[in-house]
């Protein structure tokens, strides 16, 4: 199921929330060795995990994390403008309809065949969320191997600066334009895989 969590969501998503922060530690700190703060030795939580962030979480039926992404409003400090402004040729794209995708996280417990399926569900949920809430642009920072995958989804994206070396990796900044045509583009890329509406309990809770 897809959970949409923001500061207005109640405690129903507590399990999903905790298992997401634990999965983020496992992926970004233990596996990818990013230099990030750890809370209670278990959770990866940073200064952007505040009341303004939104989270899309794909969970199993027990609300355990399978995949997640954090969305940050670009009208407030976010990764591209606070940490990697050099990745943008000009000013980082910014506005109420521009949100930054960060911490795109696939659970390490997933088998490789499931990873692809869950990845596609999360990309689809991101596009659907944008269309439902009037987001017309996503931005994001990606390492090159991942950036090549993002391009292959088929949606409309472009580089907004020259890639730069950071530690042992090469990072690039992207801008993705979401339009009513995006589902068709993602379908052509073999990625579009929506989860049915009744599988989204938290979404209705948020909108209530």
């Amino acid at each position: 199921m897809v959970l949409l969590i923001d500061s207005s969501t109640g405690s129903i998503s507590d399990v999903a929330f905790r298992s997401m922060f634990a999965a983020r530690k496992s992926v970004f700190i233990d596996l990818l060795k990013w230099d990030l703060p750890v809370l209670e030795g278990r959770y990866e939580i940073d200064q952007f995990d505040d009341a303004h962030a939104r989270y899309l979480i794909i969970t199993d039926l027990d609300h355990q994390h399978l995949a997640s992404a954090r969305l940050l409003p670009t009208t407030r400090p976010h990764i591209l403008d606070s940490i990697f402004p050099a990745l943008c040729e000009g000013e980082p794209p910014q506005g109420p309809a521009v949100w930054e995708i960060t911490r795109f996280c696939l659970d390490r417990r997933l088998r490789s065949a499931e990873r692809r399926q869950v990845r596609d569900q999360l990309v689809t949920a991101l596009a659907a969320h944008a269309l439902e809430t009037g987001i017309d642009t996503y931005t994001g920072v990606a390492e090159m191997g991942w950036l090549q995958q993002i391009l292959s989804f088929g949606w409309d994206c472009r580089a907004i600066g020259e890639p730069l070396r950071s530690g042992g990796s090469l990072l690039g900044a992207l801008e993705i334009t979401i339009t009513p045509n995006t589902p068709v583009e993602l379908a052509a890329g073999g990625v579009w895989s929506p989860l049915s509406i009744h599988e989204m309990p938290a979404r209705s809770a948020v909108n209530a």
Binding site: A113, Q148, S152, P163
Partner: protein, 249 residues
């Protein structure tokens, strides 16, 4: 033209390109703007033998392609092999540090130089579950490569490969590659890849020896392969199992 603008112009052109010729023209335009002579956008297969949709677009001398195919270098070319070790673009000068070069490899590199292909920069383009590919840029033999354009090459190469996948129909193929093994067959293949015997797998999974033999036999039949090792390789290629699955135990 500012460096990023070269990539932007290319991305715009590549996005609306409906033919390989249009994509080729855009790549040539980018090469000219960067002061680079050659480009080569290709899947790493042997074009003489391997069927199916695949991408190959380049402006190397025709004699090079002929020699390359005669020697079946699609998979074994040293630059292509180095792509397995890279997640982003690398200059050809770094290849000896990335893979062990054999005498045959040195012969390939010398031969390239002789037909006029000098220093280069290659962007690996790997999409999980698909054949590896790459996009290379190179200057005339004896010329220095304009290093300030490395990262523009990275962007142009990445977008070029994606456009070529779209045009060639490779992308449609990937959808058919859904899991073709059952979960239980996959479990057996994974343990086999980790070096376990049928009997050991039976104990680990808590099923009978005969059941494991049957699962692996059916899995081999589904892939049309004879050997256990080939079965593991095919399952790896399809992403049914991963290197980290095998190696973490």
């Amino acid at each position: 033209m500012p460096r990023l603008a070269i990539a932007e112009v290319f991305v715009q052109n590549a996005k609306v390109a409906t033919t390989a010729d249009a994509l080729r023209a855009s790549l040539l335009q980018s090469c000219e703007a960067m002061g680079v002579r050659y480009f080569a956008l290709t899947h790493h297969i042997n074009f003489n033998h391997d069927g199916g949709p695949a991408v190959r677009l380049h402006n190397y001398p025709p004699s090079w392609e002929e020699w390359f195919d005669q020697n079946e270098l699609g998979r074994s070319d040293p630059i292509h092999r180095a792509c397995h070790k890279a997640s982003f673009g690398f200059p050809w000068a770094a290849v000896p540090d990335m893979i062990k070069l054999t005498p045959d490899d040195r012969c390939v590199l010398d031969r390239a130089y002789l037909v006029g292909i000098g220093e280069g920069f290659t962007i690996p383009a790997s999409i999980p579950g698909e054949i590896l590919g790459s996009c290379s840029f190179a200057v005339d033999a004896g010329q220095p490569f304009p290093e300030e354009f490395h990262y523009v090459c990275q962007l142009v190469g990445g977008f070029a490969f994606e456009a070529a996948r779209r045009l060639s129909g490779v992308r449609d193929m990937s959808i058919d590659h859904a899991a073709i093994l059952t979960d239980r067959q996959r479990d057996c293949v994974l343990w086999a890849a980790r070096g376990k015997t049928d009997w050991e797998i039976a104990v680990i999974l808590g099923v009978s020896h005969e059941t494991v033999i049957q699962h692996l036999k059916h899995a081999r039949e589904r892939y049309g392969v004879q050997k256990r090792a080939m079965l593991a390789v095919r399952a790896l290629f399809d992403g049914l199992i991963s290197f980290s699955d095998i190696l973490k135990h």
